[in-house]
């Protein structure tokens, strides 16, 4: 069950708010202090990705972030873009990163996914249960209950 739920219109300015809330709830849940930078970055990347997809498809729908601290700290970031849009997640090799033909969007998406995969040990990306959309679920251990 979610302990904190935040929904925001898909505008870049709100991603910072989501990061701040996500880190505040993580701290309160007992996530180790040294992990908080990674929590901040991962929530930011997942929200940035959701905002980009909504903008790409012209969707005004809200992006939702659910934070739950039952046994561990679990964060779900939910978008409502068509599923096929999410398949383009791929980590880019170094020689392609600086390639002239790579678009800024493709670069940012690839780098964003590398950051998510690199910083979150327990990461799951799957379709939402009802309607179009994807949920990115990230879990971190908590120290005290």
């Amino acid at each position: 069950m979610a302990t904190v739920r935040l929904s925001f219109s898909p505008a870049p300015v709100h991603v910072r708010t989501a990061r701040l809330v996500g880190v505040a709830v993580a701290r309160r849940a007992g996530v180790a202090e040294e992990l908080l930078d990674e929590v901040r970055l991962a929530i930011g990347e997942a929200c940035t990705r959701a905002v980009a997809l909504h903008n790409q498809y012209g969707l005004p729908d809200l992006v939702t972030v659910e934070m739950s601290d039952s046994d561990s700290y679990a964060v779900r970031v939910i978008d409502h873009a068509p599923i096929e849009a999410s398949v383009g997640l791929a980590k880019l090799p170094p020689d392609e990163l600086a390639d002239e033909s790579l678009t800024d969007e493709a670069l940012t998406t690839g780098v964003g996914f590398a950051l998510l995969a690199g910083f979150v040990d327990d990461l799951e990306v799957r379709p939402v249960e009802d309607g179009p959309g994807t949920q990115v679920r990230m879990v971190w251990p908590v120290q005290r209950r």
Binding site: R16, T48, A52, L92, P94, T109, L115
Partner: protein
């Protein structure tokens, strides 16, 4: 903290000091400033990330874009960064193999051939 940008000239290099948070909201301002500097003729550009508290994939994309722009103009691009959390971001994304990253502004501006810091 909001994004802050300040440029100055050090040993024939244009140094752009970046501070605060570089994310999907603020990165367009960083891109704009870098484009302005290159359009104004800067060819040896060093971006000092010493004051950066947060950097995401959008910010990294802007830095790669600036490097490509300078490469086309036969210019050089380097980063100054000594903060371990930021260096980890460059390692995880493999961008540490793309950018010359220097520990200090002095090291960046003294590297004549832009080959990166001596290891």
């Amino acid at each position: 903290m909001e994004l802050s940008l300040a440029s100055r000239t050090v040993a024939e290099h244009t140094v752009l000091e970046v501070g605060g948070e570089v994310d999907v909201y603020t990165a367009p301002r960083l891109r704009e400033r870098l484009v302005e500097l290159v359009d104004a003729g800067a060819r040896n550009v060093v971006v000092d990330l010493g004051g950066v508290e947060f950097l995401d994939s959008t910010g990294l994309g802007v830095l790669v874009g600036a490097m490509k722009r300078l490469r086309v103009a036969n210019g050089r691009f380097g980063l100054v960064c000594s903060k371990e959390p930021l260096l980890k971001i460059f390692r995880i994304t493999a961008l540490d193999q793309v950018f010359p990253i220097y520990p200090t502004i002095e090291a960046a501006t003294e590297d004549g051939d832009g080959s990166g810091p001596a290891s």
